[in-house]
Symmetry: C2
Subunit: 353 residues, 2 copies
DNA sequence: ACCGCAATTGTGATCGTTCACAACCCGTAA
DNA sequence: TTACGGGTTGTGAACGATCACAATTGCGGT
């Protein structure tokens, strides 16, 4: 039955409208120097036949591929996914990217790349060769991977580095992690907390350091010490459990914790519950990321909202705008906000001092 | 600085290996009739130069595009996303699809399509014309949209209908919703529950009906009535609140609720809490979907685990396997499982009978 | 009436790959 | 020796669009 209707090509439109291929091409691409009347005629033919240019053909002839490639870390993504944590980044990147791409006639493709160095070059190289994207968006921890940035720079592909403010090729973009951590800590201090623990992310992520910096700065600004109040984690739940325990064991007076991921914050919540601490009465909690899971915990968590979608969206626009120029090393910052829910409250009355 | 290294093409490989383009092509595609020794020579050249065929060029000449297109509902996806509910389907689809695609040298692309009928044909048509995918995966509620299935059938593009078992073109696939609902209800009955409420999904989703059917069948099997125990929702949180209230208002003896989405189940949990009901002591709760959010609620919810990733993965394999043949109307079922957590418990002792 | 220039439209080459088919090689059977 | 045939390799056309450039048109100024 299925008549297998042949694809409509630019040639069909040209014949239908009685003009040359080039003219149709100009109309499609909004090129200059086409008589308005003729433009209308051609456009009518396009609409009538339902012509849409073939991405593949466009890529073959022109310079652009109309594809933006978003790179995520495979290991972390898959681990999160298999264990049914939220895949924080992926869906937000994807949706933020898709919307903005489609606004400009582009398409977004997601690639998962292995962290291990030998694979990186091969996998990313293969993806780039196959897709020949017009731009690439790097997310942590790949944003500062020299192999990757060098590879992209060599091939002359514009790219954005999300979560990196280092100099070098590519557009650096951040979500104001230092400021957000400062904000979170300041808010807790404002609520009367003095001993505020920090569960940091892994060191390979620059943003882990920035968040520590922001927290330290807020503490120092009020003359509060931060010794013994820092614990490391890997963003995952288990590491959050360990870190929260260590923090509570070591600091009897601890009344608040900032966690560098939602998972770790939820783990801290669980640890608190186990120890008979009521959140937020006995312990205040602020997490980073603000993925959907923190809305439905008991209590819902106050969280630093990472504007991932917005950042990716901005990245896409930057990449589309700059053809090849990768000059302006201006860091683009899309600041995070603090969403107050019910895991933060005034510090409990102190016994002394 | 950036030397703008030119892309490696099949011609470069051919010259390097001293053979014709066609021979390289055969080696790349594992074609037959190439002397093993020559094959090795060519392969060595490919590896040395880091050649990867251009997707665009492959599409231009050959018949395949190596692209699988996954269609999601735009409105629901975006609404969920903007309101920071989890985007249930998208990330699981994407990841399940990406992995399987990459196993076969394919790539997956996600497209958000408007529900409203006039747009559907245009948007999907445009995406198909531009991408010319080798296969399309339809998710509810598009799976049974006549305009869409007809369009795809006309163009001769193989496609899978997830969440649809209707006859017609395309490969029907389900996640055993009827059986899963039956299982969930049976489990509750086994725990001693007699009045088990059902919060269903919107009628435009076939799976809403199947879940009702399964629940009804389980009730009927034990001679339990299901009148007045059914409420409709739209999968969203607010609708869950309304439905749960209605259910509890109407049935004083209600001891369990099955909700057709995680969001609605969490809403029911909240309603129960408001009314002083302790879950699971006073009210047992089972949700559908098993997205990450239900692991961190208090208590964590027992949930029907929708194997979305697995289903999409199967779909991809089917689509890649069948070139054009869309014969076998055999429904492919990837059954859902029940993940028991802490929102289910034996029914409270009844006052009478 | 003529020239020049800009705006408009058309032409042929080109991108990187696969397809269909032709050409070649070599061993075996007549 | 010749012819056949299967396995192997090469050749030219084709896919659908854009690019660079050539051809045409129209209009104002002299």
């Amino acid at each position: 039955m299925a008549r297998m209707r042949k694809t409509v090509t630019i040639r069909d439109v040209a014949e239908d409208a009685g003009v040359s291929l080039q003219t149709v091409s100009r109309v499609v691409n909004g090129g200059p120097n086409v008589r308005p009347q003729l433009r209308d005629t051609v456009q009518a033919a396009i609409d009538r036949l339902g012509y849409v240019p073939s991405l593949a053909a466009q890529r073959m002839s022109g310079s652009r591929s109309y594809i933006i490639l978003a790179i995520n870390d495979r290991e972390r993504t898959l681990a999160d996914w298999r264990e049914r944590r939220g895949t924080d980044w992926v869906d937000q990147m994807l949706l933020g990217g898709i919307l903005t791409c489609s606004k400009y006639g582009y398409r977004m493709m997601v690639e998962l790349v292995d962290t291990h160095s030998d694979h990186v070059e091969r996998e990313l190289g293969a993806a780039i060769s196959a897709l020949q994207p017009d731009g690439v968006i790097l997310t942590p921890p790949h944003s500062e991977n020299r192999l990757i940035t060098t590879l992209l720079a060599q091939r002359g592909i514009p790219f954005a580095r999300i979560g990196s403010n280092a100099p070098g090729p590519g557009i650096p973009m951040t979500m104001g992690d230092e400021g957000a951590a400062f904000l979170a800590a300041s808010r807790l201090i404002e609520l009367g907390h003095r001993a505020i623990g920090m569960i940091a992310g892994p060191a390979q992520y620059s943003l882990s350091g920035w968040r520590i910096d922001g927290w330290r700065r807020a503490m120092a600004a009020r003359g509060l010490p931060s010794d013994g109040l820092l614990e490391g984690g890997d963003f995952g739940y288990e590491s959050g459990t360990r870190a929260a325990r260590a923090l509570l064991d070591r600091n009897s007076g601890l009344t608040a914790i900032i966690a560098s991921s939602d998972q770790m914050a939820l783990a801290a919540l669980e640890v608190a519950r186990d120890r008979g601490l009521v959140v937020p009465r006995d312990l205040s909690l602020i997490s980073f990321d603000n993925t959907p899971i923190v809305r439905f915990s008991q209590p819902p968590l106050t969280a630093v909202d990472q504007p991932i979608a917005e950042t990716v969206s901005r990245a896409v626009e930057q990449l589309i705008a700059r053809g090849q120029e990768s000059d302006a090393d201006q860091v683009i910052e899309v600041p995070a906000g603090l969403i107050e829910r019910s895991s933060t409250a005034p510090a409990p009355a102190q016994d002394t001092a």
